[in-house]
Amino acid sequence: MLKVENVSKVFRSGAFGGKKAKVIHDIDFEVKPGEVVSLIGESGSGKTTVGRMILRLTSVSEGRITFDGEDVSALKGRALKSYYRRVQGVFQDPFSSFNPIFKVGRVFRTIRREFLADLDTATWETRLTGALNAVGLEFAALDKFPHQMSGGQLQRLLIARALVLDIRLLVADEIISMLDASTRIDVLNLLGDLKRQGLSIIFVTHDLALGNYISDRIIILQKGSIVEMGATDRVFGDPQHAYTRSLLNAVPHLHERWSDAELKDLGLVKDTARFGGRLVEHQPDHLVRVYS
């Protein structure tokens, strides 16, 4: 369905784009229908940039991204609109995703105006109610200002916004990192239910436990390169790359305490990122970057 083919991203800065910085190096992966793929990495790993490129909010410098065989970068006008009917995104900060001066219901009016203007009112209302029910919110919620709602409610409204469109792929960029533990699990379970109904999800996160809970496949990004990827149980059950291991070691567990030595290892964070190398198959559906 969605294919990211050898994609790189170069950001230009300085006077007339004089300075260049390559932030994404030759990324290649695929998302199948009904699959949840987690992009995991620390800040600066480029995981958000990848999500934004898929959503066409950031341009692709090299390589291409295709959806059902169509090159996403080439889409214009009607074709682009039809792409956004099938692919939508939800971002990290729910408060920033809503225009603070309008009531939250405006988001749905815009969606109707932009995509579903031909729908008669009764059908539209049924559809809207359906989407709101799916995320556990009521009609009355639409009549509030963003600052009168909690982050979790806003995040669910944004998911409902995407659901109104019958989308096939959702790019969820750190959508629960700003939420409380109890609200987090609600949103995660909602994503799980949607996946069961056939929705594909790209789940961008820095939290390995959350990525593990929900996803079928994992992609570990370090400084813009994929260092390890594959089926969730293979990557987490048998991590091969040093970076994946160090990330997994740093995850706090409830029932297992770090040893004193482990906890107090306070040396400078070493920059272990290495460029080059290539991805080789460690076992079926499990690729690891090796350096020669």
Partner: protein
């Protein structure tokens, strides 16, 4: 040693007083790292802030706070000044973004110290020694905030706020905005500082129970402005007595748990409004164990050594 008894702090809003902290009593022993957890709006940050500085909108309503035998004048902003930084210190939630981007770290620290009537140069050797303890070279003092990672900035702020060996340090959501690797280092730094005696005791405010399970000696759970449970970390994690604690722990996905295999339950409903909180147990609307007695407020009582709970069913629950 910190002792807090029946502390009440309200927020003034146009709609009325929000009872953010509604009668809270607990103590933190010397050498103890106490974790303070709960959902947003439960009053945990209010409690942390109240111990050092009341914000404009925060109103002291009642209660007493004693630190090492002296009563802290928390309601009096001016009288608290001699205690701040020297006796009680805080690493605030947004410490990282509070750093002035146009000043080098070292110069900023000198200015902050000067504002407290201290000389930067006399404290510099100790400052550098402590930075080294946390794995930071003295070079960071010559850098601008933008050159440091979030975790490094957080550690610099930690060193600065504990420079005068305060008795109590409040760490307010210090790990929340960090990546796992930096999170671990900041957590380790907190323990290191306690072990070296730079601070006697600590209150670590966070919504992340997994981090507390790693570093805290005891954990206190708050719900809707009241204490729900306090116990040694092991007990909270392995044998929680309050139904809220159980649900909170049950909603944490750990590495290894998959949605496909085991769907974690959330907590239904929302915390009550603290403008006019309900009588009785505040958790009863969401509680699976609620029964008729819950319309009376359960006392916060000790059910085992060091294990306090505010729940009518706690006794039976802990044993069963």
């Amino acid at each position: 040693m910190l002792a807090v008894s029946d502390l009440k702090i309200h927020y003034r809003t146009l709609a009325g007083s929000v009872k953010a902290l509604d009668g809270v009593s607990f103590s933190v022993a010397d050498g103890e790292i106490m974790g303070l957890a709960g959902e947003s709006g439960c009053g945990k940050s209010t409690l942390g802030k109240a111990l050092i500085r009341l914000e404009e909108r925060m109103q002291y309503v009642g209660g007493e706070v004693t630190l090492d035998g002296t009563t802290l004048p928390i309601a009096d902003d001016w009288a608290m000044n001699p205690y701040r930084f020297r006796k009680v210190s805080i690493v605030p939630q947004y410490a990282m973004s509070a750093l002035n981007p146009t000043r080098r770290i070292g110069r900023m620290i000198d200015e902050l110290l000067a504002a407290r009537g201290l000389k930067g140069s006399t404290l510099r050797p100790e400052l550098e020694r402590r930075l080294a303890v946390l794995g930071l070279t003295p070079d960071v003092l010559g850098m601008y905030p933008i050159e440091l990672s979030g975790g490094m900035k957080q550690r610099v702020v930690m060193v600065l706020s504990t420079l005068l060996d305060p008795s109590l340090l409040i760490a307010d959501e210090v790990t929340s905005a960090l990546d796992v690797a930096s999170q671990k280092k900041v957590a380790g730094a907190l323990v290191e500082f306690r072990d070296r005696g730079y601070v006697k005791s600590m209150i670590v405010v966070t919504h992340d129970l997994a981090i507390l399970a790693q570093i805290a000696d005891s954990i206190m759970i708050m719900y809707a402005g009241k204490l729900a449970e306090k116990a040694p970390t092991r007990t909270i994690v392995e044998a929680p007595a309050h139904p809220y604690t159980r649900l909170l722990l049950g909603s944490l996905p750990e590495v290894g748990i998959r949605f496909e295999d085991k769907r974690l339950p959330g907590i239904k409903g929302r915390p009550p409004s603290l403008l006019s909180p309900p009588v009785g147990c505040r958790f009863r609307d969401r509680c699976p164990l609620a029964f008729s007695k819950c319309v009376e407020e359960p006392p916060f009582i000790e059910i085992a050594a060091g294990h306090q709970v505010a729940c009518w069913k706690a006794d039976a629950h802990a044993q069963g």
